[in-house]
């Protein structure tokens, strides 16, 4: 039945298309007979009518405009503000991706140093598909918790062994991806809290170095900053960089969670004189990041390459990857044992993505999720008997203390976060990281957008976030009944897959 107040959009648009022509005539007459001033409207409507004629009869690529004329524009206009409206008004507190408002709010509160407790129950739905931490009947006194200390490189007895003092580190984000202010605020915050920060693969870490925090130099497949003209390793450059006081470790990136198995391209338009200098690439030419290091074509050459970096840098050296095939990883570990070259750490990146821009299929469909990949890496290393010779870092959406604790229980020794720290810097999840239009001045190089990012203020927030995470880490650890993060194991986590696989729905342990 047709209701009396139905709005017939088709009829309305047809009326509107005729209406503007009638108005054009009306204003033309008024301009002629009443006052010439009416011709301002005549001209405006003339332009609209001409545009509308083009939309309806002159173009073929927009069906809505061809069928309904200018009224169809309202659809495009309203649609264009959809993401903002959904985020402000309509999306529930728990449904946004990659991070829901509840998750983001926790980071914001920690960064601002305000109480992040909640009341009247959790906002999450519990249906036995989520992973939970298991507490103990016998929590440990907080004073009995050992200070967090993970030594990287100790197994090789290096003089340069690095002691990690916080369970969380700032993950790889390069200058280039982030603007200058964002990098400096992160580095200053890391310095204040005494945490380590990864430089990302963006070449010589000029802005990271400015604040004097401990750095993990990341070498991507294009080896920005330590490459020769052909993109091979330039040992002298790496040695010079590793000799700097601030650089504590070297991370060789084999792949990353945002686009495992895929390289990248730095288009020549983005290569400014400064970027060219920092990355060691020519001006005016596209630069390819290959999908793998040119030196690494199989397990043997990869392990040789790791050994070479260890020798040249003299620093604790590790590899980062998102796990794909476990058989390949096991073969690589066996090769490590054969060559007696074990990396000092392994960073397991979850396929949950990250800050890197990537083709959608690579982001969505490749690589193992963090927790699964982490367990497999940990298990294979244990089975091959090299687990105690290295340290595992984990990264992939670990922005809350609970998630970090789960990663630590499933095999990680230290956790990494990138986006957690972007949120601490004031990220509002506008999802424009790859467009140079970041509204809060983080992933942009435009001066007027970076203006709002005060380095001192945001550095404090970064430090607050690190300290709050560490504080919560101690709380959570005490509840598990363990006095050191080293003692955490799979028994501290409830893994729902087991319950789901059980016919009775009961958990088997």
């Amino acid at each position: 039945m047709k209701s009396a107040i139905t709005i017939d959009l088709e009829k309305m648009s047809r009326t509107a298309n005729i209406g503007i022509v009638l108005l054009l005539g009306f204003f033309g007459l008024a301009g002629y007979f009443v006052s010439f001033y009416f011709h301002f409207l005549t001209v405006a409507f003339l332009l609209v009518v001409l545009l509308n004629l083009y939309w309806r009869h002159g173009q073929t690529s927009h069906a809505l405009l061809a069928n309904f004329g200018f009224m169809a524009q309202f659809r495009y206009i309203v649609e264009s503000v959809g993401p903002e409206l959904r985020q402000y008004l309509f999306a529930s507190d728990t449904e946004e991706r990659p991070f829901s408002r509840v998750e983001r709010a926790e980071v914001y509160r920690k960064a601002k140093g305000i109480d992040s407790s909640a009341a009247f129950g959790s906002l999450l739905e519990f249906d036995r598909t989520e992973m939970k931490l298991r507490h103990s009947f016998y929590p440990v006194d907080k004073d009995a918790i050992e200070p967090f200390d993970v030594a990287v490189g100790a197994a090789r007895g290096l003089d340069t062994t690095y002691h990690i003092k916080h369970p969380i580190m700032i993950s790889a984000m390069s200058y280039g991806a982030l603007g200058e202010n964002a990098v400096r605020a992160l580095a200053r915050g890391a310095k204040q809290a005494g945490a380590a920060m990864n430089t990302g693969e963006g070449g010589f870490p000029k802005y990271h170095l400015m604040e004097g925090c401990d750095l993990i130099f990341q070498m991507g497949t294009a080896k920005f900053g330590v490459r020769d003209e052909d993109g091979r390793l330039d040992e002298s450059k790496l040695a010079a960089l590793a000799a700097r006081d601030e650089v504590k470790m070297v991370e060789v990136k084999l792949s990353q969670g945002a686009k495992p198995g895929k390289g990248g391209m730095l288009p020549k338009e983005k290569i400014t004189a400064e970027i060219a200098e920092l990355r060691g690439v020519p001006l005016g030419k596209d630069v390819i990041s290959p999908a793998h290091h040119v030196e690494c074509t199989d397990a043997t050459s990869t392990v040789e390459f790791i050994g070479r970096i260890q020798r040249v840098s003299g620093l604790p050296t590790g590899i980062k990857f998102c796990l794909g095939r476990t058989d390949e990883f096991r073969a690589m570990v066996q090769e490590m044992k054969r060559q007696e070259t074990v990396p000092d750490f392994i960073t397991v990146d979850g396929a949950e993505g990250g800050t890197g821009a990537a083709p959608k299929s690579f982001m969505d469909d490749f690589g193992l999720p963090l927790f699964e990949g982490l367990r497999m890496v940990d298990r294979i290393l244990r089975e091959e008997g090299v687990r105690d010779q290295l340290v595992i870092f984990a990264s992939g959406k670990l922005i809350s203390p609970g998630k970090q604790m789960k990663a630590l229980s499933l095999g990680a020794d230290v956790t990494y976060s990138a986006r957690g720290f972007l949120l601490a810097l004031g990220c509002i999840q506008a999802l424009q990281c790859n467009r140079n239009t970041c509204p809060v001045g983080i992933t942009t190089h435009r001066a007027h957008l970076q203006k709002g990012l005060d380095i001192d203020d945001k550095a404090r927030r970064v430090a607050n976030y690190i300290e709050a995470l560490h504080h919560d880490h101690v709380d959570l650890l005490a509840a598990t009944g363990k006095s050191s993060a080293r003692q955490l194991a799979e028994e501290n986590v409830y893994l729902p897959s087991r319950a789901a696989a059980s016919p009775s729905g009961q958990e088997r342990t």
Binding site: H39, V43, Q73, I77
Partner: protein
Amino acid sequence: MTHPKLTYAAQGIAAMLLLLAAGMKFMGQPRSVAIFVSLDMDPAGRYLIAVIELAAALLLLSPFAALGSVVAVGVMCGAIIAHVTRLGLVVNNDGGMLVGMLVVVLLCASYVLFSRRKEIPLVGDTL
């Protein structure tokens, strides 16, 4: 179909003539006063049009040239309406000079409008 150099040249010519026209109106040159008197718009309408012409000229010389060309085309359409309906093609015995200039600006601005149509705010994507 369009050439960047030609577009810049058209922007320059249109902007220069618009500045000239706006200047004459601002300074109250007798001929333009006479025109606006016969349109019953002097002096407010004269200044208003001068301001719009000035804005169009400056926009044509800025990165927002597409917007400037829309404004310029609009003003010129208005001027054509005035000449056709009230003033006639020959004003003050100038042998059609004024209308000639007007047509030049209209053609230049139209060319800019066409070659930069993708840059027009809001609707550019559909053109």
